[in-house]
Subunit: 255 residues, 2 copies
């Protein structure tokens, strides 16, 4: 059994309104890849957000008093601090250079996932534009999946990923922020191990494991590989939602 | 560019003293795979620990008063609680069913990584045996790497992984607990993005991303795939140590 993750190198720079599904189909063609049942397309958050015009020009943002306070504590531009507040349910920790939040989408991440780099609102480069996460990444994934399935006649999964830091460990890893068809969790509790014992705690975050794998292939930012094709994912695809991966607050010992 | 992760299905049940490197070479042969420069072998912690005889019979463990107290708070067998204490630098959180520790190896994990399932001290199955993590996983990986490189004449990486729960997100993911040749972190700070901006925070935990990918292929415990072969890892191999991945306590906002 082999899991294969292939970079789709022919995705052009994405602009608001672009048809991502069509671009993915073109890129697959150019790579001599045809979608098959069980395949998964993994997309970097940036291209989904850009295609959905989640760009904001900081010049249009009026910081609140709360944002000014957050800016002083974090060193972030007060207008960016305002957007972080708007995009978050709760601020968990603030240090100089770093604001850790519960995003409105439910997961915990730094700076509400708002990104400065690679952003150009009108196609040009400017430091005043930032990029918010997609409004509803599960829905974005589902929309793209529907188009790809219609075009290919195959049943596939689509996942959108971002890079998050972690508690306790250095470095970022790819994590899922939305998906359609990809199982978020696979519950292996109750399965027997090789000696017939019932396994204790084995709920595997399969979507996040795949996100990390895809992130490895997207790899170096300078090469700009925003989409990969996955074949050999070892679990059945099914209807799914990002909510599976979000630990309920009252079960979280590290909030 | 394709990253390929292939299950090595011909690894027999491991007993203390077994020659893992030899078994991996046999399994590669049986899968018609020959090691090439840049390949990585990823091993499940369990087979490394078993081959190193990290098995402990709970009947031989005398719980301390501290262990009895931890047992009452966590619901763990007091003898297991004693081993958790011995294997840990610090207990971070305790709840019924769950003890989160800083392991003596430096990383944060549940129950000091001590495992009940699949364990048989004398080859038979018994509930009284548990399995500790390898004494020094970096060294274990280096020893196996040295043997595999000598046998193959190729420069490769070896990594040992376990499954860890996370703060904030549901489910476990594969993470590195030791490696040789595999870059723990790749620092992309200072690289230019597509518009020439300098990227801000991009230190990627490449070893953990690969661990998650490998864990996906090892997958379902009932199938027992304890080793995988990786080809197409997109970063250069180099000398490395697990210490790269451990966040210093004073930089950790969630301890």
């Amino acid at each position: 059994m082999t899991l294969s993750i292939t970079a789709l190198k022919n995705i052009p720079l994405i602009k608001p309104g672009d048809d991502l599904a069509g671009m993915i189909l073109n890129a697959l063609n150019a790579s001599d890849l045809a979608l098959d049942n069980g395949d998964i397309i993994v997309l970097a958050q940036k291209i989904v957000s850009k295609s959905e015009n989640q760009l904001v020009n900081l010049a249009t943002v009026q910081p609140s008093a709360e944002a000014v306070a957050l800016s002083e504590k974090s060193g972030k531009d007060p207008r960016l601090a305002e957007l972080i507040l708007r995009e978050s349910n709760e601020i968990l920790r603030t240090r100089m250079g770093s604001v850790i939040v519960e995003h409105r989408l439910g997961f915990v991440c730094a700076n509400a996932g708002i990104d400065h780099s690679n952003v150009a609102g009108d196609g040009s480069a400017t430091e005043d534009w930032v990029l918010l996460l997609p409004n509803n990444p599960d829905q974005s994934a589902l929309d793209i999946r529907t188009k790809l399935e219609k075009a290919s006649g195959k049943q596939i999964g689509v996942m959108i990923i971002d890079s998050h830091g972690r508690a306790w460990r250095m470095g970022t890893v790819g994590v899922a922020i939305g998906y359609a068809g990809v199982p978020g969790l696979v519950d292996e509790r109750g399965w027997k191990d090789l000696f017939g014992y019932t396994l204790q705690i084995t709920v595997v975050a399969t979507a996040d494991e795949l996100a990390a794998a895809a992130s490895l292939v997207m790899g170096q930012a300078s090469e700009g590989i925003p989409a990969v094709h996955v074949r050999g994912f070892p679990y059945p695809l099914r209807n799914s939602s990002m909510s599976e991966l979000i630990r309920p607050r009252d079960q979280d010992m590290f909030r």
